[in-house]
Symmetry: C3
């Protein structure tokens, strides 16, 4: 495999400083790059690695061009991290086998399903009645596409993805293994100490260019649909409740969760294990830190955090025990302040 620097620059642009026929076998981080690797330097704080790296070629920003060229070949580009991202895509397209564009004979495809051009359906996949699969889509082994579900063009589902009935997935999406779209939302009416099921009559609508990580779940709406807009990226083991609305280009890290009917504005991010309670609204551009539970709506963009800081257990135990008396500490503080103020006043009156 591998590529010459000339091939790379011709495909992706950038200014090449060095020999166009220099060949690189792998992409690698600066630290572990060998003499046949191409690496990138995205952040000035890693500049010191530039001197020690063994990489044959480094992708750098213009400000680091001179430093990079002192040590070997370089590709100069305004945004090295973006260039790196595109290089990984170009690299993967060259090195990974193309989809077969065939329906595996072991797949169970309902005769009423509509399958587009050049679709790949993996072994033992199930495509139910009335489902529609767009051109160039790839349906992995053991996927289940429910009745009347729609998968957009060029969308790729890894093995073991379940798309529930009536749900729609846009174009150019990537869903990883174990994703479950369209399970019932969690809705019950309490009645005499028991829970009466509210059948979930909505579906899930997912836009284009959405990527969803392994074992992540997005529930169908109770009456209206759960909606995930274009360009959203969800990591693994994320839970999206019924009737949630996730705006464009939101990103959520692993183990995050959004409870029912919450509205997440465009360009929000949620860190790992961050949670948003139900029926809340997050404005565009809100960033929730890892491990933070959002308990009320946030109307102002910015970074929000709520985590008890970790410590050696013995220190934490003392501080945590005290945390249970915080309110009374504040009362005591007030009492002292009042006492001191009175005392001062007394003092002043004596002085006068």
């Amino acid at each position: 495999m591998g590529a010459t620097l000339g091939e790379i620059v011709s495909a992706l642009g950038g200014e090449l400083v060095g020999a166009a026929d220099l060949w690189v076998a792998t992409m690698a981080p600066l630290e572990t790059a060998g003499s046949q690797s191409i690496a990138f330097l995205a952040h000035p704080k890693y500049r010191s690695q530039l001197e020690s790296t063994q990489a044959a070629c480094v992708i750098v920003a213009p400000a680091l061009k001179d430093a990079a060229c002192e040590r070997g070949a370089a590709i100069v580009t305004p945004d090295p991290y973006l260039y790196f991202a595109r290089l990984t895509q170009w690299w993967a397209a060259r090195t990974r086998p193309a989809p077969s564009c065939e329906i595996h004979p072991s797949a169970v495809v309902d005769p009423t399903a509509v399958i587009g051009e050049r679709v790949t359906v993996g072994p033992l996949a199930v495509i139910e009645a009335g489902a529609v699969i767009g051109d160039d889509a790839v349906i992995g082994p053991h996927c289940v596409i429910g009745r009347h579900a729609r998968i957009g063009a060029s969308t790729r589902l890894s093995a073991h993805v379940v798309i529930g009935f009536d749900c729609t997935v846009g174009a150019a999406c990537i869903f990883h293994s174990g994703v479950v779209i369209g399970a019932d939302g969690f809705g019950f009416a309490p009645h005499e100490g028991q829970w009466v099921k509210i059948e979930q009559l909505g579906a899930v609508r997912i836009g284009d260019h959405v990527e969803i990580g392994a074992n992540t779940c997005i529930d169908r709406g109770a009456l209206d649909d759960t909606v995930v807009e274009n360009g959203v990226k969800l990591d693994n083991l994320v839970q999206i409740g019924h009737n949630v609305h996730i705006g464009e280009h939101v990103a959520m890290a692993g183990c995050a969760g959004v409870a029912g009917s919450a509205k997440i504005g465009a360009h929000c991010t949620v860190g790992g294990a961050g949670m948003v309670l139900g029926h809340l609204t997050l404005a565009e551009g809100v960033h929730v830190s890892s491990g933070t539970l959002v308990t009320r709506s946030i109307h102002k963009p910015g970074l929000y955090t709520g985590v008890f800081p970790f410590d050696e257990n013995a220190a934490w135990e003392k501080n945590a025990a005290t945390a249970r008396h915080l309110y009374s500490m504040r009362d005591r503080l007030r009492a002292i302040e009042k006492q001191l103020k009175n005392h001062d006043n007394d003092g002043h009156s004596q002085d006068s």
Copy 2:
């Protein structure tokens, strides 16, 4: 599809105010209901929506009958939310295709498995030796029913559910895709810096009317069984450790977890990402807030919470840094109180 108000009231009861032949096409929330929708008003705080809704008919409590009738048709019932729940069930039963009551030819069913009457087994499901499937059960595509597992009558498993060997599931349960029942509990004996596996010899016993969300896991017991009683509702991505006992009609929201051997009393609820540590006991009627870690047993019903409140990151950082000095702050507070008391005493002695 759709239904007339007369059909609805004849099936579900309630007092109809309006034309029995008025036809509604969809169920919808008050806010988004169109002129062919039926909606419900469950809580007086949404009363203002009654005036603005376009719904053809609104389900209301007697107290709101007059207000509802001013604007159009109404169904009056003591508990509109419960009525709504039942209406979704009736609606789903009318609009969704009935199970095929057939064993799909691609399913792999061991000849020693016992399959009840009118059972549906989806494509590519696997039913192992000695498994027993109750009447009217629905086994989704790609489900695996382990050897000697038992599935109760009318239980429905969505696609990709795994029921481990020897586990039992009651009647009228609903398990969503990706549920794993009966994986090994997490048990190891430490030995010379390594972990020696404790084979998990128990199973999982699940009662009737239990609903389990997508990708939720319930582990088998080490020696005795893990037990989930009747009517329990678990949301998606919930983790139930080995030998846990969950009492009747408990509900747990998404990403909640219960560690091994904990006992959760009947009618408890756990909010999203709430966690209960191992070997603890929760009394009946304990409610754990979202994001709360329960670190000791709770013997008194009530609502329990433990979350560091979130804030703008800069404010949080200052408060969190201080939280690591809470204990010393309390010491300092005490010292001041003592000093002031001594001072006062000095003052008093001078006064006297």
Copy 3:
């Protein structure tokens, strides 16, 4: 099934006090053991249960030999918990059916896959091109072994496990249902308000004797591999990000997570729902408590915790509200201390 005490001691060692032909039908906890059960007493704090247990035989440490023998048969061994672990293994091997050592005819095995001796491939499993399955391995129903993936000898995969292309799994591993190895790591370059995918070109390398719980995910690396060393034990619903390195004999409980590029030293443990942020390093022997978010590297072995203590909701509300003013409380405390110090100084100067 069952076994005589003689058979047990002859297989696993230990000093038998009692009749070698005494037969036990089940293994059970002390509390629920019946008169045909064998139980164990691992910790002196449960000693009181020794008197009340109905067990036919109790496994005890030498210090409790006399107490155990007063009530019936006993097996005396230095580490009863370890003995119990080994007994469960011996018991399971006797009572569970052996793997069939056959490739089920419904499995889809690529002709270029290399299948070892005595391998079991369950119904409807998929083994892709170039995959290598070691001797005595068991591949469960519906598993997918990606192209060029390698599964070590005697490794057992339960139903519905996905091993991504190019990933390697060592020998004698146990992966439970729904495990996803080698989904793409969560990597995107921001560009004009959108996310540009970084194709994940690394894989996952897993050592020997690794056990992974149901629905747990380990992502493939961006450029280098994600690595899990020998003897690691992960519980259910655990998330391991790309390029994480997990040292030997680490154990992580359910719902734990490790973000990308973190390095977890050997013999660390992470409690349930414990989280480690990306790019951090945990030294060997670090123990993270349940529910704790690790936000900076830890270089010293020990137990670390960070959780807001839970309380009755009303008390928590007051304390949590105060927690948002912690920093200003510290300022006020300082001001008081200063004032008192000045006051004292004033007093002293008056005294002088």
